[in-house]
């Protein structure tokens, strides 16, 4: 059946089975390939998006569970203050290597600093340990989150 979903402020109508994961609607139906497939079981976080501002693994989020909630993806995260700070910190700190997991890392990190302006190391562990990086960029991710949070706190 057809579902109307709101992604990055735009409403799209998609005709798929209700149990279809949001990930594949984004990537294959809408052609928004910034959100990545890693595991299909919410084990790696590569597919992380925001649903009403809360990070969610789109690979296990069925399309019929979303309703009128607002979906935000990596393509639009730079439009949010937290997202823009995270992206800048990611580039300043040269976090990225292969980059494949970084869409998900950035979505998780943006949600963290949007809700927590002074994340501690254990806050970062809790928010980010669901996101695997096979290139092992964890140390720089941690530094970049702290930088972004600091600029966020300073920026008010």
């Amino acid at each position: 059946m057809a579902f109307a979903i709101k992604v990055n402020g735009n409403t799209h109508s998609v005709d798929v089975d209700g149990d279809t994961p949001l990930l594949w609607v984004l990537r294959d139906v809408l052609g928004m390939t910034g959100t990545k497939f890693g595991c299909g079981m919410a084990l790696c976080g590569a597919c992380t998006v925001h649903i009403d501002g809360v990070p969610a693994r789109s690979c296990i989020t069925s399309i019929d569970s979303i309703g009128s909630a607002e979906i935000a993806t990596i393509e639009a995260i730079g439009a949010s203050a937290a997202g823009a700070r995270i992206q800048k910190a990611w580039l300043d700190r040269e976090v990225v290597q292969c980059g494949y997991c970084q869409s998900g890392q950035i979505m998780s990190a943006s949600a963290l600093i949007a809700s927590n302006r002074h994340p501690t190391d254990s806050d970062i562990d809790a928010a980010m340990s669901g996101n695997i990086c096979r290139c092992g960029t964890y140390l720089r991710i941690r530094e970049a989150i702290k930088q972004a949070a600091q600029s966020s706190a300073q920026g008010g």
């Binding site: 798929v16 089975d17 149990d19 279809t20 994961p21 990930l23 594949w24 609607v25 990537r27 294959d28 139906v29 052609g31 928004m32 390939t33 910034g34 959100t35 990545k36 497939f37 890693g38 595991c39 299909g40 079981m41 084990l43 790696c44 590569a46 993806t73 990596i74 393509e75 995260i77 730079g78 992206q87 990611w90 580039l91 040269e94 990225v96 290597q97 292969c98 980059g99 494949y100 997991c101 970084q102 869409s103 950035i106 970062i124 562990d125 980010m128 340990s129 669901g130 996101n131 695997i132 990086c133 096979r134 290139c135 092992g136 960029t137 964890y138 140390l139 720089r140 991710i141 941690r142």
Partner: protein, 734 residues
Amino acid sequence: MILDRILSGPSGLDQSASANSISRRRFLQVGASAGGGLMLSLRLPSAGRDAAAAGTDVFAPNAFIRIATDGQVVLIMPYVEMGQGTYTSIPMLIAEELEVDLSEVRLEHAPPNEKLYANPLLGVQVTGNSNAIRGAWQPLRQAGAVARTMLVLAAAKRWNVDPVTCRAQRGEVLHVPTTRRLTYGELVADAAQMPIPNNVVLKRPEDFKIIGTAAKRLDTPAKVNGTAVYGIDARPPGVKIATLAQSPVFGGRVKRVDDRAAKAVKGVHQIVRLDDAVAVVADHMGAAKKALAALMIEWDDGPHAKLSTEDVAQELRLATLNSGAVAEHIGDARGALAMAATKVDATYEVPFLAHAAMEPMNCTVHARKDECEIWIGTQAIARVQAEAARVTGLPVDKVVVHNHMLGGGFGRRLESDGAARAVQIALHVDGPVKVVWTREEDIQHDMYRPYWFDRFSAGLDNNGLPIAWEHRFAGSSVIARYLPPAFKDGLDPDSTEGAIDLVYALPNKHVEYVRVEPPGVPTAFWRSVGPSHTVFVVESFMDELAGAAKQDPVAYRLALLDKAPRAKAVLALAAEKAGWGQPLPERVGRGVSVQNVFATYMAQVAEVEVSKDGAVRVRRVVCAVDCGTVINPDTVQAQVQSAIIFGITAALHGEITLKDGRVQQSNFDTYQMLRMNEAPAIEVHIGRSFEPPGGMGECGTSCIVPAVANAIFAATGKRLRKMPVDAAALKQPL
């Protein structure tokens, strides 16, 4: 910020056409000389200069540089970007000599062309073996210098002045006495008419402006906003999505398929049945996966239906009881062993490992009647092209391959099995099809880092110094399959690297390798490959010798390094920075390792904590590295951090096991990765050197595993001779 800096994918240039036009022009030919050194020569292509191409709108003096009349500089990347930073370091080499700002260049993936883009050290067009910078160091600086020289000559001719009075800088040629300037864009047409110089002078290191700086990466802006295009993101118009189930036992066949339920899934187009796999073709991956789960497939498991890891390990263990090919023979190890005051014997083994790159295996193919077009992220584009030609029966030049960013490679994407599989499926599909493996397929149909078994005997003199060293090991040779000519007399350079030509002074040494291919289990390169095994066993055993000699592990090693000053320097530096010898709490220990592999010297000290229930946590790693001339120190640091995390992942979690012929691990729950909360602090100290650059992508992985094992020994007194770490064995006795 240039977001579309990388020209890529279906929207990119027609790369085969661009390759053809380049091949009509002059190009740099690079080959390995008989002596093993680099030989550079310039030659005319057989077709001679193409007047039209050389005419007006582009200056392309070689296969790596294209400058347009608007001044746009495009650099063609012979090595792929999979995280290791080649799309920054390779442009740094060219830009240094071409005298352009890195911020002004655009990059293009090289098309398949072994003649133009082979790695000169390997002879094939691949990115691997930590060889990109080593292979590019001379020829790509030379390529930049040739282009710069021709631009200067063109300007001098235009001004009718002596070329020595002109200088290239920031994309312009300056006539120094008059300060007249011409941009590279304005010189394109004239430069294309200049003779290609036979000799160009490369800059002296003290004149480098780009090499040696922490230049910002060129590939990252598109990777933080979702616009970077990986192979899995290719979307040629009309593309369908497929996923597949391959025989769960290697070598098995499809016996029977009931696809009624699968075909009924909304969005499913067709089921493709191959001899040893079944694929579902659908509108999207959600439908394809749902239908795959609904397929009823009966398999004929074939000859390996009962295979287990224990069978493989037993065969290797037995193989080390018989002699193998002699990889190194110095002095008389057997005789010295008989005279030794103390003897030390040990066996080691390391498991099969999966690559688990974050981007699952995928390949998009449009198989037309007389042409095959492929979209993929690959470390070996020419191999993919050749494999697709073989499967389709088309001539190689009828296979067009578009390369992309790689979501991790680690050796997995040196293989063409995924492309071959996608082409097999595409031959049954009308229009383009993207074949995406589930994570479970990716892990259960990987080609694995080989299982190895090692046997050591050493003899110490009265002072505890090693006077005899015997080492025999057995395992698969990846090189023998991948590059058969490089497997000679029972030996290959990968399997033995890190086991021979050690940094230590060992007067009597004998090393043998026994090639044993595991039945049915495909093996492949994996980050640091041979050294991921050899350095673990050698550095663990060296620790055992220090223990038998009742000496400090660092001091024991330093005493054997007088003839290896670079190794001695990194070891001393790592030990000093790590606070070697300073007291630690109970069940916390430091372990050390030192190596020279991939032409880079490295030492690491790991600090490890072992809980009462045996859980191991790596708290801190200090690494000292001498990789010769550093192109980009930030990338060197990043690669060390990355490779250490990769190695700790293997040491603590990494193991692929087989039961009833089936791989028992399937996803990140059973094949675990190190995560943020487990990542140690890592300090990297880079030595200053003007030696030629060494490889940096892999050496950190081989070095960390023995450092961790040795630290566990220091913390608990338990010597781990088998990877991964067995927490149960480390439990504190009550």
